[in-house]
């Protein structure tokens, strides 16, 4: 009866039913409400931009990666996330190029899934920001006419986009920084503001992230640490000088902080391995976000804060190694007993 149909494997013979593709596809699933919100706010432009960045990511993965890695879902996450942090009016070819860069230079060049240092979607966006600063900071106003495109999405590659009859405006952070104008908090929380496609609906992002945290598919310590740091640091500054520095709630719900803290910083590959490391990592991001936003030359700082801290992850990991069980000397153990 010893036929080859029996398995001979090493222990343990049972495994948890989570798998890496399952985690990835759950993240994709949890992003769908955010995508829906961006379509609600920005109309057909949102669909086009997200589709273009998704196409850039998937094609690069398919052409340069191992074919089967398309199925693990990680390229889909990168595509969706990149699309969600682009402005609605960006020409589609730029979104596509951003996707190609994200996967090609953000992930595959390092050796594929699990090997990259920087969050691929953020790296793609940083590339676009450096290459096309104007297109990346043109924010269409939320309009009555849902069907209208929010910019010259169909501009040809390397041509300057046509002026389209679209009102543009500054983001709440831009208003705050360059014009000292505040924005009503409820508009920030609900997402009815100018900004990138998916970064505006703060509450929705929190809910979707909460679902992932409950399933242990993201480490809640990272967003918690970012929120705490930003909240306390900004709150302290606001107390010292309420005119010059905005309130903590404004800082939390404006710009890309929510999507950055919940979806970008928690990317397992580019965040620390230990829980203590995650707290430090989140603290660093929160601190840098406030510093860049309030004293830097840019209105928004989440992207650079996360990328900078991504670079610190190997050091954080090394500094927060778990302390070995029974590491003390036998004599001490005796005394402790």
């Amino acid at each position: 009866m010893t036929t080859p149909r029996f398995l001979i494997t090493a222990s343990p013979h049972l495994a948890e039913r989570d798998s890496t593709p399952k985690i990835m596809w759950h993240v994709v699933l949890s992003l769908l409400p955010v995508v829906a919100a961006s379509i609600y706010f920005f109309g057909p432009s949102a669909v086009l931009v997200i589709a273009a960045s998704l196409a850039g990511c998937l094609m690069t993965e398919w052409v340069f990666g191992k074919r089967e890695t398309l199925l693990d879902g990680s390229a889909v996450i990168t595509g969706l996330l990149l699309g969600l942090i682009l402005p609605a009016g960006i020409p589609l070819w730029m979104a596509f190029a951003g996707g190609v860069f994200s996967i090609g230079f953000g992930k595959l060049i390092f050796g594929g899934l699990g090997q990259n240092i920087f969050n691929p979607a953020l790296l793609g966006r940083a590339f676009l920001q450096a290459a096309f600063p104007v297109a990346l900071t043109t924010w269409p106003v939320i309009r009555e006419n849902w069907w209208q495109l929010r910019g010259d999405n169909f501009a040809l590659p390397l041509m300057s986009p046509r002026e389209v009859d679209v009102m543009t405006a500054a983001t709440p952070l831009g208003l705050q920084k360059f014009e000292q104008t505040g924005t009503e908090l409820w508009r920030l929380v609900m997402g009815a503001t100018e900004g990138s496609l998916g970064e505006t609906a703060g509450i929705l992002i929190l809910l979707c992230g909460g679902y992932l945290a409950l399933r242990n598919y993201l480490n809640w310590r990272i967003p918690a640490s970012i929120f705490l740091t930003v909240g306390m640091f900004a709150g302290l500054l606001h107390m010292l000088d309420p005119v010059r520095y905005p309130s903590a709630l404004f800082m939390l719900f404006s710009g890309g902080l929510m999507i950055g803290a919940v979806y970008m910083a928690t990317d397992m590959v580019t965040s620390p391995v230990t829980n203590l490391g995650c707290w430090i990592f989140g603290f660093g991001i929160g601190f840098l976000v406030v510093v860049i936003r309030l004293w830097g030359g840019l209105a928004e700082g989440v992207m650079y804060a996360i990328l900078l801290m991504n670079a610190m992850v190997p050091f954080i990991n090394r500094a927060t190694q778990p302390k070995l069980f029974g590491a003390q000397k036998p004599e001490q153990a005796k005394e402790g007993a």
């Binding site: 494997t9 798998s19 699990g114």
Partner: protein, 440 residues
């Protein structure tokens, strides 16, 4: 100082004990042939003292111990020695074993003998009796019990911990032993306390066995200090270091033994067996084990003659179901998959689990995504993520710098890894690699 009844990290595999938790222990009928490997315990294999053609009675010694850390082996049946030669061993290779043809019509009664009462024996006589009966730890590692009962004098032992945690999924061997033979467990503990000259014993049992806690408490003797302590249900609660941490809040130092913190840990089944030795006069020739899993027809708790072939044992439980996929000796977390159904069960076999197609782990691995789940699971606070990376490039010595030798191969990291990386397998490879490096 009492412990907090739990340890940090670990995992929560499905318990799956309901298949046999309520099934009373029954005796398995004798098979037609018994195979007794000479290497059933930790330490040197025993030396055979029988020849093919010899007639043996049930309980007769067939192999003598070789050195201090070794254990004698006795025939579990009346019959005729067929052969002393190589035979499939549960570890996966062929090892020397004594094959005995069971006499069909024997009453299987042992030779008459005089059993001295244990109360009248001195400490050394007790330890010697345990040694001669071939008692080894029945929790899985099969470390000779007489060695543990005779610790070096430089580390005074103040507490015996009795391990009734049984944290492995599926197994109910210790559970049923505690429910059905609580008096034997207590007598065994008293004998061990006398051997060690220790005044205190604590029995640790996971909370998912309330009936065992209740039975042991109901039968507590009032003249010795034995306490029964329910513990948090978490794997690997039954690992020595975790049990000591949970019950006494002492940490066994890295590279040290329980006696370095004044503790000896024994399994409940070992305690019951020691009592049985002085009750019946028979050496360790049969043991209680759970035969279970979704791939077996009639899961059961059985008294099995040691040396019964896996095939015969499974047949006694109605045979395997068509979707049986893997036969595991011991629990599914740390047990060994058997390669040959002719391999016999041994003294240290806590159970045989037949896993079905539905529950075996997937066979494909993905790249590590550094999620940190393994770091959160490791009960001895290693970093399996880094160790895994080092193992893949065979950097054994660097693994040692990352405390590879503290790994007890509990399998928590592999269990929790979403990418299904065989971490604990890599670590046992690492340990073997290190041994090779050191030998060279």
């Amino acid at each position: 100082m009492p412990g907090r009844l739990k340890f940090r990290h670990g995992v929560h595999p499905p318990e799956l004990k309901q298949l046999t938790a309520g099934t009373p222990i029954r005796r398995m009928p004798f098979p037609t042939e018994i195979v007794l490997p000479l290497s059933q315990h930790t330490g040197k294999p025993a030396t055979p003292i029988v020849q093919p053609g010899d007639r043996v009675e049930r309980g007769d010694k067939i192999a003598a111990e070789d050195g201090f850390i070794s254990s004698p082996i006795h025939s579990s049946t009346a019959g005729t020695v067929q052969e002393v030669g190589l035979w499939p061993h549960p570890a996966g290779d062929y090892k020397t074993a004594v094959r005995i043809k069971v006499e069909q019509f024997s009453a299987q009664a042992p030779r008459p003998r005089i059993i001295p009462g244990w109360e009248g024996l001195s400490r050394d006589e007790l330890v010697d009796a345990v040694r001669q009966a071939g008692v080894v730890g029945l929790g899985g590692a099969a470390f000779p019990t007489h060695v543990k009962l005779n610790p070096p004098k430089d580390f005074p032992v103040d507490t015996i911990l009795i391990n009734g945690a049984e944290c492995e999924p599926y197994l109910t061997t210790d559970h049923r032993t505690m429910v059905e033979y609580p008096e034997r467990v207590h007598i065994g503990i008293r004998i061990m306390m006398k051997c060690l000259g220790v005044g205190r014993a604590v029995i640790g049992i996971e909370k998912n066995k309330p009936d065992a806690v209740e039975r042991l408490r109901a039968t507590l003797p009032d003249d010795v200090d034995i306490t029964v302590q329910p513990l948090t249900v978490k794997y690997p609660q039954g690992a020595e270091k975790m049990l000591i941490k949970s019950l006494l809040d002492r940490e066994v130092p890295s590279g040290g033994l329980p006696m370095h913190v004044g503790v000896i840990v024994q399994n409940v089944a070992s305690a019951a067996t020691i009592a049985e030795v002085f009750e019946t006069g028979l050496p360790l020739i049969e043991r209680i084990m759970t035969v279970t899993g979704l791939g077996i027809r009639q899961p059961a708790n059985l008294i099995v003659p040691i040396g019964t072939k896996t095939r015969d044992l499974l047949d006694a439980c109605g045979g395997m179901l068509p979707d049986a996929r893997e036969v595991v000796f011991g629990g599914p977390m740390m047990g060994t998959a058997v390669a040959d159904l002719d391999a016999p069960v041994m003294k240290g076999t806590t159970g045989v689990v037949v896993l079905s197609e539905r529950e075996v782990k997937p066979q494909r691995s993905y790249p590590c995504i550094r999620c940190g789940h393994c770091v959160d699971a490791c009960p001895v606070f290693l970093n399996p993520q880094i160790l895994g990376q080092l193992a893949m490039s065979e950097r054994w010595e660097e693994m040692q710098e990352h405390n590879l030798l503290d790994c007890m191969l509990c399998g928590c990291c592999s269990y929790t890894c979403p990418s299904n990386i065989p971490l604990s397998q890599l670590f046992s490879m690492g340990k073997a690699g290190l041994r090779k490096v050191k030998a060279a």
